[in-house]
């Protein structure tokens, strides 16, 4: 075993570093390498092209809509299940994990078929719904499919967050101080779940920004589909865009770690607003209550 320890330290890590760094280095070199030396045109000019900005903006808008949609569905549901409907916990968990069993390509196959009913429903009010879902400038159907695909991340992240706080005490304290149910959810529970909420949101956003399968089958043109469309005409630009997308993912996850690391009472007190103050007092109160 001592030998294995030696190999893992001295061989595994350098080899892994080589395998993971070479493609990134080679891609950057590929995107700047010209016949007559090095040129950063792909980054300076290419990244400003109109196709990139429109497709990237579409991806970002889809991602934000997915986050809002997913959180609005999941936070109240999981809180309600944890507090009042423990019998549903297992069902909700299984349902949230279902998208892992149905791959995106299989899901989109079903979605295409459902969307093809449009002609049959031409005379009904549903027709308008279909038109709205397929709106070229902001395809809601993608938001819905992406929300389904993000349920596993959201569930895992929020479930871990909910387990870490004493939800029942928090809610009882807030309610006995006269907070309404919505106030309790928005001003007490959500701030306490901040890390979990941000974690799930960032993972969903990263997923949406890189998503290709669903968008390409339904013929929309977000960032990654655009990247593939230009690969034959402007190979360097597509590789530069791939590096940009790696950078965006990295930035998002960095943001997540920073926010997660900044979560904690000590950090929050100096920068707090009135609301945070109240919240702190409330949780201090309920701690007292639990002790007594």
């Amino acid at each position: 075993m001592a030998r294995m320890k030696f190999t893992s330290r001295a061989v595994v890590l350098p080899l892994a570093a080589l395998y993971f760094l070479v493609p990134i280095g080679a891609s950057i070199w590929f995107s700047v390498n010209e016949v007559e030396g090095v040129s950063f045109d792909a980054y300076t000019q290419g990244l400003g092209t109109e196709g990139l900005t429109t497709s990237l903006m579409l991806s970002v808008r889809l991602g934000l809509a997915t986050i809002v949609c997913g959180l609005l569905l999941m936070v109240p549901t999981l809180v309600a299940v944890a507090l009042y409907l423990p019998g549903l916990r297992r069902t909700v968990e299984v349902l949230c994990m279902m998208p892992l069993v149905v791959p995106p390509i299989a899901l989109v196959a079903g979605v295409t078929t459902v969307l093809s009913w449009e002609q049959d429903l031409a005379d009904t009010p549903f027709y308008m719904t279909f038109q709205m879902l397929r709106d070229e400038s902001f395809p809601l159907v993608l938001v819905l499919v992406y929300t389904v695909m993000s349920l596993p991340f959201l569930y895992r992240s929020l479930d871990a967050g909910l387990r870490a706080v004493d939800l029942r005490t928090l809610v009882e304290a807030a309610r006995s101080l006269g907070a309404s149910r919505l106030q309790t959810l928005w001003q007490v529970i959500v701030p306490n779940l901040r890390t979990a909420v941000v974690g799930g949101a960032v993972l969903s956003l990263a997923m949406v920004l890189g998503e290709y399968t669903v968008a390409s089958v339904l013929s929309y043109r977000p960032f990654s589909v655009w990247m593939v469309e230009i690969k034959d005409s402007e190979a360097q630009l597509s590789v530069a865009a791939a590096m940009l997308s790696l950078l965006i993912t990295w930035g998002l996850l960095l943001l997540l770690t920073t926010l997660a690391g900044g979560h904690g009472r000590r950090r929050r007190t100096p920068v707090d607003s009135g609301r945070d103050n109240r919240e702190d007092r409330e949780s201090r109160d309920d701690r007292k209550k639990t002790v007594s």
Partner: protein, 319 residues
């Protein structure tokens, strides 16, 4: 604001349910008051979860149901009516489509095995490392790279090992007969996001191996090899298998990387489904695509089922 703390007593007025439990200090009474309150609350807490179930029914249940229904029906071109048939399913399990399915399964099994082994080795190297900086770097890099899949990953590999790729030209790899647009190329590309995913997945389990167990084994006279064989590996097995299942699922469902990198040159079921949906091969193959999708779901379910009985065992030791 300062007299907020003085408010609770009057404020509980409109909220009798919470007020009933709060001011009663003895534990049994709180219990006794809690049970009917919860039962009463359940009645009007149901509406909260309705949107979730409605959303899943429409956005997940409807497409999934359509998939199953469509897989077992064929559209009669003359009458326009659809009838029950297993033609699609049998068609999706024969000829080129059968090759695609086995190709996908083989690729997923192979990459899952490799990713599990390599990911565990890297994670173990990190866990045993005395430098915490190394762990920080590996964990954050794994987080980023595990999310770096799909089209961008395909471009990174094309730029590196493709026909005009940097490394190909530097080392004249084309002369050695290496091609990125092959099974090997796909394995190389898939491992790029699967190994980091495995590292992230298996790290908590490796952290859960207590050093006391190793010390206890050592003080009973066990060698390091015996410790791993009788303690370490058995405790880790559920986590490792769980990781392997996750790896298989990820590789099996992955479409974009292969679609951008190799196109249709490699037989993979995901690419065949996409082609059938886009009408690239023949028009009117939608139901065949649905049948292939159903095959994928069935295989994914079978593989996932392996993991379920193992979860409890793993939770007992490493939870």
């Amino acid at each position: 604001m300062p007299d907020q703390t003085a408010l609770p007593a009057p404020a509980t007025g409109p909220v009798p349910v919470a007020g009933a439990a709060a001011p009663v200090p003895p534990a049994p009474d709180v219990r006794g008051g809690g049970a009917p309150r919860r039962r009463g609350a359940r009645r009007h807490r149901w509406p909260v979860v309705v949107p979730f179930f409605a959303f899943l029914a429409v956005c997940f249940g409807l497409p999934a149901g359509t998939m199953v229904y469509g897989a077992f029906t064929v559209l009669d071109p003359e009458s326009g009516a659809s009838r029950f048939s297993t033609e699609n399913v049998s068609g999706s399990l024969s000829g080129a489509y059968a090759t695609g399915l086995t190709g996908s399964v083989e690729l997923s099994l192979f990459t899952a095995l490799l990713a599990t082994v390599i990911g565990t080795l890297i994670a173990q190297a990190v866990v045993t490392s005395p430098r915490p900086v190394l762990r920080g770097i590996v964990v954050s890099a794994s987080g980023v790279l595990a999310n770096f899949s799909g089209a961008p990953l395909a471009f990174a590999f094309i730029a590196t090992l493709g026909t005009t790729g940097t490394v190909t030209q530097l080392f004249h790899l084309d002369r050695t007969g290496f091609s990125l647009y092959s099974f090997t190329g796909l394995v190389l590309a898939y491992l790029y996001f699967m190994v980091p995913l495995m590292v992230v997945t298996v790290l908590p389990a490796l952290d859960g191996l207590r050093s006391q167990w190793q010390e206890a084994a050592a003080s009973c006279g066990a060698t390091r090899g015996q410790y791993w064989r009788h303690v370490g590996i058995p405790v880790l097995t559920p986590s490792l298998l769980g990781g392997a299942v996750l790896m298989f699922g990820t590789a099996f469902a992955s479409h974009a990387t292969a679609a951008v990198m190799v196109g249709s040159s490699q037989p993979l079921i995901t690419i065949q489904i996409a082609n059938a949906l886009n009408g690239n091969v023949l028009v009117g193959q939608e139901n065949l695509a649905l049948a292939m999708s159903l095959n994928m779901v069935v295989i994914a379910l079978l593989v996932m089922a392996v993991q379920i009985p193992l979860q409890r065992r793993s939770a007992r030791w490493l939870g």
